[in-house]
Every structure is written in C-alpha cells, then in structure tokens.
Amino acid sequence: MKFIAPVFIFLILVCTALPCFGHGDEEVAEDQEMVKSTGLWIYNDLEKGITQAEETGKPMLVVFR
C-alpha cells in the first residue's frame, strides 16, 4: 500500500513530462486529423501561414500545443 502513492505520482509526472502538444504517435495522428478536419487551420507549417498572411493581409494566430 505504501508504494502506491509514489508510483502513482511517478506515473503522473512521467505522463505530463511528455510533449508540448502531448504525446505519442497515436495522439499526434488524432490531433492532426481533428484539426485538419475543421479546415480552419494550417497544421505545423509556419511558412505556409506566413505566405497566406502575406496574400490576405490578415494577422496570424500561432498556437503551440
């Protein structure tokens, strides 16, 4: 019983010590699919965003996740 708390904390810390956006291959694939399906975002391509902002005159919103 006394080992449960430290192991639990260890697991939480290890899990949250994973990525900026999060995670393993599966999570990245899911995120990519979900975000791209909205048709509202440029995914992981800053240069493409800059080109589009130049063409449209719009400001940029760059989200790190």
Binding site: F10, C20, L40, N44, K58, V62, V63
Partner: protein
Amino acid sequence: MSCQGIDEQVVRHEESIKDLMEQFVCVRIVQGNGIDLSVFQFDYDLTFAAFFMNVDKTIYGRFGTRAEYRNAAKNISVEGFKQALEAALELHKGYPDNQAVLAAKTGPAPLKKTPEAFPALQRYPSDVNLSRRVEGQCIHCHQIGKAQREIHWYDRKPVPDQVLYPFPMPDVLGLNFSPKHRAKISKITQGSSAEKDGFKRADEILTLAGQPIISIADIQWVLHRAKDHDVLPVTVLRHGEEINLNLTLNKGWRKASDISWRTTTYELRLVSLGGMILEDLSNTERKQSNLSNDNMALFVKDLMRRDRRANSQTNAQKAGIRRGDILVGFGERTDRVSESNIIGYVLQEQAKAKSLPVKINRNGNLLDVNLSLE
C-alpha cells in the same frame, strides 16, 4: 483540468469566437523542432500558448498562463481569449503606426537560434515528418526550458533568476487577474507592493512598461524581461478614465515565484533536492508538530524514483531521508522557505557544492544527514 477544453474550442472556432478567428490566419504548431527562438519566446512549461502577430513577425501579444499543476486551465478562458483576439485585431489595424510600442514584445537574441542547437537537444532533427513515427523525434516545449537551465547547472554556474523563475505570475507583486478578461485585476493582496503603488480591484491594465497589454501572458512577458529592481510605468482604465501608476519591483521579487507546478521542476528536484517533493507545513500543521512559524519546516511529501529500475535510488534515498520526514535545515538555511526557494538556493547560491548537510525532524527526533547533489 487540462487545457484540452479551451484548445478544442479554439481549434473548432467555437461560436463565440468564430467571427474573430476568421480574421486571422490560424497556424497550429505541435513540435519544438526548428522553431525560431528569436521570435517564439514564451513560457515553455505551458500546454497551450498562442502568439498574435503580423506577417513580418512583429508580436501583437501572447496568450497562455498557467500557475497550477493539476488545474492547468485555471488561469485561461475562452472569454479572455476572445478579448485578446479583439485587442490583437485593433493592434493590427493600427500597424505599422504602433510599431515602436510593439518592439519590446520581441525578446533579445536567444542563447541559441533553435532548440536543437542546445547541447541537450542536438540529437533531435530540425524538422519532424508527421507522417512517420514522431516519438523520439519531437522536441517538446518543456524540453526547451530544461535545455536553457541545463547549460548553467552542468557547468555548476548559478542559474539566473530569469531562467529559474520564468514568466512570473503577477501575484508575486500582489496583483491577481481574472482569466475571463484581458488584464483586469480581480484582487489585490493586502500589504503588497501593488497595493502600496495604488492599484485597485477592477483596474484594467492597458499598458505596462510602454507595451500594450492584451492578456495576462503579456503582463508575464513584461515581468519576465524586467530587472531585479525596477519601477515600471503602467496605464490603467479605472471607471472609464485612464490613470498612470507605477509598479514597483523590489529586489528579489522574482524569487517569490512558485515553480512547483512546472514539468521542468521534476528534473530540478532530482538535481537540487535529491528527488524529494517538499511542502511547506501550514501554521496549523506546525502547531500540531510543535514547530515555529518562522523557521524551516518542509514536509517530505514524497520521494521520486529516478527511473523504472527498482534498484535505482535517488540521492535523498541514499542519504536515508524518508517520506514523512520534516526538513528543518538545508545547508546554511533554517528560515521559513518554500520548495521553490530551496531549489533556487541550491542552484544559485550552492551551485558548486557537491553535497549539503540536511537536518531532519523525524517523529520529534533531530537527525543530520548529508545530501549529495548532482
């Protein structure tokens, strides 16, 4: 609560922000590899961080604030994000006439131009092919913060305040903000420097150190860049009227920051505390244990494991420290301190020490141990 809620609302252009979002080119970045650190300087322990910017990379503002481990979204909301979007669009309309006041929103030249240029991250590629396996390829944001710190401690040099206590929360000065607004004060801590400076609840900060403020993250950015002892000019909106105030930063102000929630503190605990997770005992708990309110009483809440190998002990375990012990002395320190303070003490004042004496109260008995440092 994670940041997933607000992230999904933003990703899907939720109804309340839809019209505003459509006025931006929206880019989502999910890797640290190759990012330009001369532009993208932010709190790398965040799980949701946003930049509003011009195509020439002039920054209008930042968004994303975190101050707790479990409740990552406590300091952000869609309402606050909406107000930041509106303010960013206003700044975009005023550009380039407002270019001069926006200049300081971009930081100085970084130590390294990209994350993978840091020694600790050299094994990573400068770009990631997301159609292949990403595990082991991606640089995660918190790794950038960690790499910045490691440069100092691996050379046994004191870690600078700005690196150890990045993006301070304004509550260290007595200013608390509502996450539902752009930068509106929800509470002033009694006796704080902010109270002495004349700030009032419901004041809305319009500019700080000359920079237009569109979010709590913008305030943190100014504080991140501020000196150890400084007076920053502030314009606030109070009852519809603009008022000029000063925000005083007293020497050592940044050290009051709580870094216990940060992912990167995991490693700091191993390096400076031998893997202990510490908690300052409350006055009530101290009374129960017959301990003074003025002196150190850091409860060993837990002992981290170095890795999954059962025989791998941390330095605290090797020193014989146990969960439930109370630290009453650490090196030369016996004063009342937080875990964050002790981490700072080791990494700044004892950067060259290979070990430090630690005094423990275990069930009322005092014990002396020697804690090796990494």
